[in-house]
Structures are given as C-alpha cells and as structure tokens.
C-alpha cells in the first residue's frame, strides 16, 4: 500500500542555502532598526544588495542543482525545531526542481522590483522603513518556498501575510483609512484558519514528519497522503479542500478574492512584487508542492478546477469596465491566478508553474509600467484621464505593449505558451474512466477572450490616442532611468520566457523535463493518475483557436478605443452596473458577513455582556441573594460584588453540572 518510492530522491547538503534566506532578514533588521540613521544611499545598498546577493547565490545553487542526478535536491537541516511524541519537525530547507523555479522567480523579479523601488520611493520619508518591510517580505517568501516541511512553509505563509498588511497600509497614517489592510487581513484569516485545521489533521495522521519528501520513500507527507488516499479518502478530500481554502485566501480566488483589488492601495512596486508576482501565487505553489495529496482526491481537484475557472471568468468580466489602471491589473491578476488554479485542478501542475512563472514576468512588468505611469502623472490612476502617453514614456509604452501581448496570448510571447498549455490540459486531461472537464475549458476560453479585450482597452486608453488629463501634469511627465531597466529586463523575459515550455508536439518542453522528477509520476508509470491527449493535431487546433480568440479580443478593443471620441460607457445598462459594482460581492459580504459579525460583537458586548451577564445574571442574582439575606436592601451592590456574584453563579453552575448533568 503506502509505497511512495516514486517520490523519493536523494538529498545533498547545501551550505549556501541558509544565506539565501538570511541575507534579506539581515537587510530588514539593519534597515528596520537603524535605517533612520543611514543615508538613502546606504539604505538602498543594504536593501537592494541583500536581495541581489541572494539572487546570485540562488543562481549558483540552482546551477549546482542542475548538475545533480535527476530528481535529487539540495537541502539543509539547521536543527531539530521541536518534537512532539513521534513527530519530529526540523528547521530545514530544500531546493528541489520545483522550488528552484520559484526561487529564481522570487529573487530575480524581487531584485528587479527592489531596483525599481529605489526610483519610485525616492522622495518618500519612510524610505528605510519601506525597504525593511520589503526585505522582510523577501525573507518570509523565501521561507515559504524553501521550507522543507509544511510548518516551515506555514511560517513563511504567515510572514508574507503580515508584511503584505504592513505594505498595503504603508501610506496610511491612520487605521480608519487602512480598511484595505483590514480587509486583506480578515479574508486571509479565514484562509489561514482552514490551512491550520488542515495542518492539524495532517499532523494527526503524520508518519513522524511533515516533510514534503520522505526519506527513502517512507515518512513525510507523501506517505501520509498515500495512507489517507488508501484508508480515508473522505478525510483526504477534506484536507485538500481545507488547504485549497487556504490557497483561495492567499491567492485571491472565489470566495476570498475581495481583498486583492483593495490591496492596490499600497505602493505600486509592492503591488508588482507581492500582489502580482510572488505572494499571491503562493497558494498555487503550495498546491503544486502538495501535488501528491491533491492528485489523489478527485472531488477536491474538481472543486479546485471549477473554482479556478469561475474566478478566471468572474474577475476578467469585472476587469472589462474598471477605470483605475491598478484595479484593472488587480482583477487581471485574480483572473490569471484563476488560470493557474484551473491548471492545478485538471492535473496540469507543470502548466500551473509555467504560467506562474510567465505571469510573474509580464504582470510584474505591467505593474511596474503602471507604476512608471503613475509616478510620471503625479499619482493619477484613472485611465480616462490618460492617453497618448507613448510620446512621453516610450520605454514604458513598449514594455507595456509587450506584456499586454504576452498576457493576451499572442504567439511566441511568454503567455501564449503557458496559457495554451493550461487550455490544452483543461480540454484533454482526465482521470481513468472519466472525461475531461469541458465546462472548465469553455469558461477558461471565454475568460481568455475577456483578458485580451480589457488588457488592450487598458493599453489603448493609456498610451494611444490623445492625452485627456491636465496640461501641467503632461508637461512634467517623464521617465526615471533607474526605473526603466527593470522594465526592459522584465519585458525581455515576457518575450522569450515562454520558450522553456514549447508545445508538446514539438517534444521540446524543457520545463516539463525539468519538473519530470516531481510531476512525472502523475502521467506515466504504474502510479499514473492523469491521461492527456498526445494528438498533435488536437493541440495545434486548440492553439489556433485560442490565438483567434486573443486576436478577436484585441480587435474588439481596437474598434472601441482606438478613435478620437471614446465610446460612452453604457452606464445605465444593467450589466454595466453589475460589473462596475463588481457583482456587488463586497456589498454582499458586507451584508452577509461583516455586518452580522460586527453586530454580533457589539451585541456580545452590549447585550450579552452588559445586559444579560451583568444585568440579568450578575445583578439579578445578587439581588436575589441580597433579598434572602437582607430583604430591605435590594439595590446595593457595586461592581466588585457583581464579580463575586459571578463566582457564586459559576459555582452554582458547576454544582448543577456535576450533580445533574453528568
């Protein structure tokens, strides 16, 4: 039964690994505690330097990893963190072929965004604090992706959440206005709750460790998952769903996506780093990490796929009508992560990671581009007041265009390959004895159409046509050289990044080969779970179809927005209202969740505590006792005596329980 040898690989000690993680922490501590005393130059040197060094070290380690026998991984066990009974949890990290990709993306994109930030935040008084938070985020994110077991991953999971709140609220000087942070906070707590409960269940069934890889095929989570799949499939499904709920919180999926668009309140580089490239994809990474568990639960996978597809469509339709440049990108992010989740749900883990990577490139580029625009226009974010910016911001314009082409899925840009991989899996992947989820495929295709449309709507309205804002701003609009370089690098990656995953019929899918030791068993060999079509014709047909879809969307946007007079928004149409108001989800949550919660809290305080406990039980019973003791003096008890009365009532309750109820 519990044979998981197909997931077992050898470990190699890595001495550089701890430094990759510690450097950003060091930077955060230095800038956080002493940043006020440093010059801006020193702060930048520490902040950027620590991350760039981590990137260089990561590159060295990944090169080393590539030289190892296929499937082996680098790891370091710092020390035994704690042990409870037979459960041993080590403070340990690993770079395997999956985390290597994340590591390169996070440190690489992270470095670029740090560089970009030195320009973007130049005039901000909280410069050192900003870099301290950003470095702390990098540290947490590295914990998350390099953690060798679920608990270390959870440390990072909580850490990135905390940094995210700190950075969302970076510019808010008082809590009342920082509602965005609060919202992110509350929705993420829901996700974390599910994550924690899932962890506890796994803890309970664990074979002495919560490692993602077992030693010699035994122990670790793979064996737990195998055991659960064998003996308690219901429990396995429950655990998967709980972890998926955790992922919906962090990765902004239905129903917990509402925080992400509001999180755009933070500085734009933060949006690029945290809310586009890295943190929000943590949920997808976590599910890929736990592929050996998710793959075993048919029900959970179906839920994942359907939720992902619905999110992709839902967010894309909202993106159609948004007028805030960052809001459009935010909904686009939600939608794109929906694609990745679809991919996980249909068994295309490689596709999910592939899209995660390409998305990190082009979406970071888009966000940084929007940051460049916002910076140039003195914090104007309404695309109705932009236009014609290609004249003022040439670098931004070209990089933005490239990224738009990539996200829309125009051939040979990065997004084309990764999105097609996902759609191909959605259309053909299936388990033994069941059919591909065509519903998911169709919904995804519609979402892709919307994506192409709204991205080019955004591009046309921002960079083409005539400028529609005030003259003064236009005259001062310019690009910061230091901010251009990251854009160019990211745009380059968005252009060529897709070639690591050429279509299957070419048999040159480098990424799939790279990840073969981790995901390969799902498709081939005796443990195989998913079956994918190998028909080259079908693949080409699907590909042509999605290119057509993308072109259709772009053409539609061209028709509507590439002209002198912009179309009047059909503000009275019911669908427009619905979309403008984001399907009234916020209002729905407000009515169904937030207000009742708040009401319950205040009810507890005012009614339950003050009236019922204090008034009825405490005072009331005090009066009763008082009436017995001294019939005349009903109304004489102060607060202390109410407390004592509570004690007496408590004893009475215990006696009743002991005597009559047990």
């Amino acid at each position: 039964m519990n044979e998981v040898e197909h997931l077992a690989h050898a470990a190699h000690e890595s001495s550089l690994l701890p430094w990759i993680i510690l450097l950003p922490l060091l930077g955060a501590i230095l800038n956080g505690l002493f940043g006020k005393r440093y010059s801006q130059k020193t702060v930048s040197l520490i902040g950027v330097g620590s991350v760039v060094t981590a990137f260089v070290l990561s590159t060295l380690e990944v090169i080393r990893l590539a030289g190892l026998p296929e499937g082996d991984y680098l790891s370091v066990d710092l020390w035994r963190w704690f042990s409870a009974g037979e459960l041993n949890v080590e403070l340990s990290f690993m770079i395997d072929r999956l985390s290597a990709i994340m590591l390169m993306v996070v440190t690489g994109v992270g470095s670029l965004i740090h560089v970009f930030s030195t320009g973007y935040m130049k005039t901000d008084e909280g410069y050192a604090r900003y870099f301290a938070y950003l470095n702390l985020f990098m540290f947490s994110m590295l914990l998350l992706i390099l953690g060798k077991n679920l608990l270390v991953l959870f440390v990072g999971w909580e850490g990135v959440g905390l940094c995210s709140y700190l950075l969302i609220g970076f510019w808010f000087s008082d809590m009342e206005k920082a509602e965005a942070g609060q919202k992110a906070f509350i929705t993420n707590r829901v996700g974390d709750l599910a994550f924690l409960i899932g962890t506890f269940i796994l803890l309970f069934y664990s074979y002495g460790s919560l490692d993602f890889v077992g030693v010699g095929g035994a122990g670790g989570l793979p064996q737990t998952a195998a055991y659960l799949g064998d003996k308690a499939p219901g429990m396995l499904t429950l655990v998967c769903i709980l972890f998926f709920i955790g992922a919906t919180g962090k990765s902004a999926q239905i129903p917990l996506y509402v925080w992400l668009p509001d999180a755009m309140a933070g500085p734009t580089p933060v949006s690029a780093l945290i809310h586009a490239a890295t943190m929000v994809t943590a949920g997808v990474y976590m599910m890929a990490r736990l592929n050996f568990m998710f793959a075993l639960s048919d029900v959970a996978m179906t839920v994942v796929a359907v939720v992902g597809a619905l999110t992709a469509l839902f967010a894309a339709t909202i993106g159609l009508v948004q007028n805030d440049i960052k809001k459009v990108l935010a909904y686009s992010t939600v939608s794109q992560i929906g694609f990745m989740v679809v991919s996980v749900g249909v068994g295309g883990f490689v596709g999910a990671i592939f899209h995660l990577m390409t998305h990190a490139f082009f979406k970071a580029c888009l966000f940084l581009g929007s940051g460049s625009v916002i910076h140039a226009l003195h914090h104007e974010q309404d695309i109705r007041k932009m236009g014609g910016l290609k004249a003022k911001l040439p670098v931004t314009r070209w990089t933005f265009l490239i990224s738009c082409l990539a996200i829309a899925g125009i051939p040979f840009f990065a997004g084309f390959f990764s999105k097609d991989e996902i759609l191909f899996f959605a259309a053909t992947a299936h388990r033994e004895g069941s059919n591909p989820m065509l519903f998911v495929y169709i919904v995804s295709v519609v979402a892709a159409l919307c994506t192409a449309f709204y991205m080019f709507r955004l591009y046309f309205l921002t960079f083409e046509g005539k400028y529609r804002g005030d003259k003064h701003t236009w005259d001062h609009a310019h690009e910061e050289p230091v901010m251009n370089w990251p854009l160019i690098v990211l745009a380059g990656l968005a252009t060529v990044g897709g070639f690591v995953g050429l279509p299957h019929f070419l048999h040159a899918h480098a990424l799939e080969g790279w990840l073969e030791p981790i995901f390969g068993w799902l498709y081939e060999g005796e443990h195989a779970i998913f079956h994918v079509s190998h028909s080259a014709g079908l693949e080409i047909a699907l590909m042509l179809g999605s290119v057509l879809i993308a072109l259709l969307g772009i053409a539609f946007a061209w028709r509507l927005y590439m002209r002198e007079k912009l179309p009047e928004a059909p503000v009275d149409a019911w669908w427009h209202k619905l979309l403008m108001n984001k399907y009234y989800v916020d209002e729905f949550y407000d009515a169904v969740l937030v207000r009742p919660l708040r009401a319950t809290a205040s009810f507890c305080h005012r009614v339950v505590d003050v009236r019922i406990i204090d008034g009825l039980f405490v005072r009331g019973s005090a009066r009763l006792v008082g009436a017995v003791g001294d019939g005349l003096r009903f109304f004489q008890n102060g607060d202390v005596q109410a407390y004592v009365t509570a004690i007496v009532v408590g004893i009475a309750a215990i006696l009743v329980v002991v005597e009559y109820l047990l």
Binding site: G638, V644, V648
Partner: protein
Amino acid sequence: MLTPPLLAAAAAPAAHAAAQQPAIPLSWYLAVALILFAIGSIGVLARRNALTVLMSVEIMLNAVNLVFLAFARFQADMTGHVITFFVIAVAAAEAAVGLALVMGLFRHKKAVNLDQMSALRS
C-alpha cells in the same frame, strides 16, 4: 518513624474514630458551618460597606475553621486543629491588609463603600 511533629497522629484509622463519636452528629456541625459560610458570602455579595465585607470574609473563614474542627474531632485527627491555627493567622494578615486598603480607599473617595469603585470597567 516518620511522624511529623506538628501533624502527629495524622492518619488515624476510621474505625477507631467511630468508637468515640460525640452525641451531636457531624452533619449538625457542618450545617452550622455552612450556614455561617453562607451568611458570610451574602455579606460579601450584598453589603456595601467595605468594612462589613471584610468582616463577612472573616465569618467565612471562621465557618471553615468550624468545618475543620468538626472533621478533625470526628476523625480523631490533629490535622484539622493545626490547620485552624494557620487559618487564624492568615486571616489576621488578610484583615490587616484589608484594613489598610480600606483606609486607602477612604483617602481617595472619602467613603468606604464598594459601589463607589467603578472607575475601572470595560
């Protein structure tokens, strides 16, 4: 060999104790003690004057002393008596601190009523 000096004859056999049961049954002592304890509790719960509350606590402690003595007597065991001494001493210390606190309260409020202390609340 290991008989503690103060707590000598601690574990007397129950049968031995039963032979010399006094005329008044144990339950009567306990009833009186519990009534006293209840009177004390009601005093703490219902009386407004801090000094009265203090006295009520003393009544409660003495009620417990009665319980100890009753049990000690009926089990022919010294432990209960010894405890009573300790309780008396502790009660004195408590009363001393209590009186000092009442004086402190009086300094601030010019009164010694408990219902005047409600500045601290949620």
